[in-house]
């Protein structure tokens, strides 16, 4: 509960958490409130918000914007989380090996990491999805591939400083195996910054996913906020609501995740605790 106390000191983080919970609830109950396929034609096209039974209006084909947002929330959160998990896993493995062993392995892995970092991440993601054909899996892989280098660098730095600490050396003198020292001794001590960077990466992943869907590189069978904005962009002057509401959804989600991430940083990073 000490963690919650520290977290709650940052009021923005609490607000972010509330928004995030609401969005999650919306994603989970999408099927309940909008049982129909969000791609189905639900009524008159181009209805403004509040008219013809559309809470947030409908688009040029008569699809319900509100239904799209609710179902799209599921896509965004799912892809954000999955891509981040994959990226964090890869990043931890690479960073841990590089930081712990140093020398040749470190050089090899870090040059590899730099190769990935030198390519602009969004263009790289577009390229990967285009090659692999748009689908949930290919989007997750593409986002993970462009995101892991940051985690790898962070974990490497932590391992580099922790491996020379006396408690790690004490484990060496006990004759503990490398794997056990890495997983059991060092990793738990560098999880806090990884959790923080991971939470912020979810936000970036959602943005990349929306961008891909906007460009028409999303999974064609799954509703997504980026797809909605892409579909409504030609109608921006005649039907503002088609783009605006999914845009607000992205804004709120990314903002909420960033706020939560910052709150976690304050709570988990003891050096910053005394600052306020």
């Amino acid at each position: 509960m000490a963690f919650w106390k520290l977290f709650a000191r940052n009021r923005g983080a609490v607000i972010g958490l509330v928004i995030l919970v609401l969005i999650t609830v919306m994603a989970a109950t999408a099927g309940l409130f909008f049982p129909q396929d969000p791609f189905s034609l639900a009524g008159q096209p181009m209805s403004p918000p509040g008219e013809n039974g559309f809470l947030l209006g409908s688009d040029s084909l008569g699809r319900d914007v509100a239904a799209g947002i609710a179902h799209g929330a599921k896509t965004s959160l799912l892809i954000g989380l999955l891509a981040t998990l994959v990226a964090v896993f890869v990043g931890i493995v690479m960073g841990a090996l590089a930081g712990y062993y140093g020398g040749f392995i470190d050089n090899l892995l870090m040059r590899l990491t730099e190769m990935f970092q030198t390519i602009p991440s969004f263009i790289f993601a577009i390229l990967l999805v285009a090659i692999m054909k748009p689908s949930i899996e290919s989007i997750v892989i593409a986002i993970a591939v462009v995101s892991w280098p940051a985690v790898a660098r962070l974990v490497r730095g932590e391992f580099l400083s922790l491996r020379n600490r006396e408690f790690v050396q004490a484990c060496h003198t006990l004759g503990m195996s490398d794997l056990r020292i890495m997983l059991g001794e060092i990793l738990p001590n560098c999880l806090s910054p990884v959790i923080v960077i991971g939470s912020l990466m979810v936000a970036t992943a959602i943005l990349i996913e929306s961008g891909l869907a906007f460009l028409g590189l999303g999974d064609p069978n799954i509703m997504s906020w980026g797809f909605q904005i892409g579909a409504g962009r030609t109608l921006l002057r005649s039907a503002w609501w088609v783009c605006t509401f999914p845009g607000i959804a992205i804004l709120l989600t990314v903002l909420a995740i960033n706020l939560v991430g910052e709150g976690m940083n304050d709570a988990l990073n003891p050096r910053l605790r005394e600052r306020s």
Binding site: R165, E166, F167, Q169, T173, L174, G175, M176
Partner: protein
Amino acid sequence: MTRLLDITDLHVALPPESQRPYAVEAMNLHLEENEILCVVGESGSGKSLTARAVMGLLPKPRVRIAQGSVLFQGEDLAQASEERLRAIRGSEISMIFQEPMTALNPVMTIGVQIDEVFRFHDRMPGKERRRRALKLLQDVQLPDPEQTLKAYPHELSGGQRQRAMIAMALALDPKILIADEPTTALDVTTQAQVLKLIKEMQASHGTGVLFITHDFGVVADIADRVCVMQNGLVVETGTTDQVLRRPSHPYTKALIGAVPDLVPRPARARSSETVLRVRHLEKTYRSGGGLFGGKERVVHAANDVTIDLARGETLGIVGESGSGKSTVARCIVRLNDAEAGEILLGDTDLRPLGRAAMRPHRARIQMVFQDPFASLNPRTRIGKIIAQGPMMYGASAEAARARTLELLDIVGLDARAYDRFPHEFSGGQRQRIGIARALALEPEILVADEPVSALDVSIQAQILKLLDEIRDRMNLSMIFITHDLRVAAQVCDRIAVMQRGQVIEVGPTAELFANPTASYTRELLSAVPGKDWFSEPAISSETP
């Protein structure tokens, strides 16, 4: 004599969630012109915060002066504005810190940093400033002042940096100099020189010095008056003679009694069985060189080191920082790989063994580390920290638990410690846990690398006693690395003195102390602070 500083009823408040409401409570203290007042206390006694309160450098608003006054020549600094304080700091009251490397700006030359002091407080032409800076560096006896002005902090040694700090602090001829543990980070011989310098500078400028330290040896060497603090309270004030010879408060008595005696304890019989023989050990560190040229630096950390360890004896390795004593210890436990030589444990040479081949021998040599705060994994429970060693070597969970509880008892900790985390323990308790961990594998040899140097004096005594008891009880042989000759005198049967990677002298403690053959050993012995005060048995015998 004029009174420079008069502290009355000073209360420094701590944040509400702290262990006690006030860091400093109801303090009354005064400092006269031309005197050195030592504030002594253990960690957490509030001595450093007192200095910061005087300088107006408390980490506000969480820590602040709640009550009382700090009169500097009649002016209350507790009420003074930030501007006024800034004008006073550096020119009227200046400060030197414990770690000169972090107190100096690493990207500015010494000359520029001294120049800044003049520029911020006085108007004078550049030539005059430079002349004064040179004069200051001469005064603090830095070799080649011209060169030092152009030097960056990392190009100077620790002692030289501290001299440069003192030069900066005295640049504007302040009335008060506050020194916060200025010699703690230095080697003994350097410490002796810096203490002498502070005393000389103080006498020639008539400065009042508020000297904060934890070391009674330093107090004995430098102080005119002493103020002893405990948990934020001043428990005793008096002249050096009064406090050191006739301490009235039990806490002062205990502190003075805990200062280890420089007279070695009686020698013990030495076993004829040798458990560890180190032969011609070599270890070098290389830095620089590489792709872009540059000169490669080669440091001989261990140069032809040969030592023997008999069963049941404690061999001390003493030396200053950089002498290679820690390197030797780390090579013996195989944390570092030596390049040549033999480390014979029984009949096995450990030096060439690979990691896998070393594993069966690991349990026979265990290590106790210096820093009790870094040597325990903050996220692991004490029980696991101690029990994981035996369990790795095949003990069952119950057996390991039973062994751990037994060890906790041996090192004087409660069985409840088993389920706690390291941060719930004090430094001394953590060191006990570190010792229990090392003992869990039932080693024959214990290598202790400065095991008490991070601890307060009173805790030090307890840990040393514990190590002694354990050695006798388990028939351990011990290699004890230390820079502190007092500590060495109390625990070591034999001592090896190291300098620049070489063992320059080995001998039984009493003989070595009485008749040192190497000049370096003599130098080390004469630099021990407070040796004239604490070598008399009259003081140590009457303490509890």
